[in-house]
């Protein structure tokens, strides 16, 4: 059962890391750019921002859980599990951020959840 705990940790750490990163970047007044070269030039106040540091820590936790999971399960099972971040992320956005979620997005989320359920039965 430890494997499912690892899945829960991996997915929730990823979602929480994304949320904190977005929050941290907003607090520092930076746009959320996935530009590596831009990140290298981040002002030091970003690096001292607690949300940003929390996001980095959680990303490390996510990666550690991912590695641990790989020691138990096939890669072909772990990879689809990772897509659960869309399910949790969408629910979290709805519940905690009050975001409106389109029907299309919910449909996607349902497909992902169904796909993970089916893939994990083997």
């Amino acid at each position: 059962m430890i494997e499912w705990v690892l899945v829960a940790v991996m997915v929730s750490a990823d979602v929480a890391s994304d949320l904190l990163m977005a929050q941290g970047m907003k607090q520092v007044g930076q746009t959320m750019d996935l530009n590596f070269w831009y990140l290298l030039r981040l002002p030091s106040r970003a690096l001292r921002n607690s949300s940003f540091l929390g996001a980095v820590t959680l990303a490390a936790v996510h990666f550690a859980a991912f590695l641990a999971l790989l020691s138990f399960w096939d890669l072909s099972l772990v990879i689809p599990m990772g897509a659960l971040v869309y399910v949790l992320g969408t629910c979290a956005a709805r519940i905690f951020l009050g975001e409106s979620v389109t029907l299309l997005r919910w449909a996607g989320v349902c497909l992902i959840a169904a796909g993970v359920a089916i893939a994990s039965t083997t």
Binding site: D33, F36, W37, L70, S71, D74, T102, R105, V116, T122
Partner: protein
């Protein structure tokens, strides 16, 4: 055109990284089960495994290439890539790692990939509608 090449390279690096990490961590697995109550020993063994470092190197390369590609295009390109990645990773796991991927698992994988594609489509629609409402 350059962006497409960057993305293809990025996708391949990501898959390569995951493959290396999968093999590397499986090698740790036997060690881990013996030392189940001392996770620190397992963590140390994981860092001593060269395949894990190669995998991390590939993933870092993926991140750099991906971020560079995104900086030259737009973020809505990100999620279709994830869809492709999921299928590619599973396919390569079957071909290279000889993992047993049953028809049910394939069905699940394609459902997941389709779901991610729908989510990315909705994100694209949202971005487009936000752009339209901008003054």
């Amino acid at each position: 055109m350059r962006i497409a090449i960057l993305l293809i390279l990025a996708v391949v690096m990501q898959a390569a990284g995951n493959l290396c990490l999968s093999v590397g961590m499986k090698r740790i697995a036997a060690f881990a089960s013996v030392h189940a109550d001392h996770w620190q020993a397992t963590a140390l063994a994981a860092t001593a495994q060269p395949l894990n470092w190669l995998g991390v190197l590939f993933l870092v390369g993926f991140f750099i290439l991906f971020a560079t590609a995104l900086s030259r295009s737009d973020l809505s390109l990100a999620m279709p890539i994830v869809s492709v990645e999921i299928v590619l990773n599973v396919a390569l796991a079957h071909i290279i790692l000889h993992e047993d991927v049953s028809p049910q698992r394939w069905a699940g994988v394609f459902l997941v990939a389709s779901g991610v594609a729908l989510v990315s489509l909705s994100a694209r629609q949202r971005a487009a509608s936000l752009a339209r409402t901008e003054p």
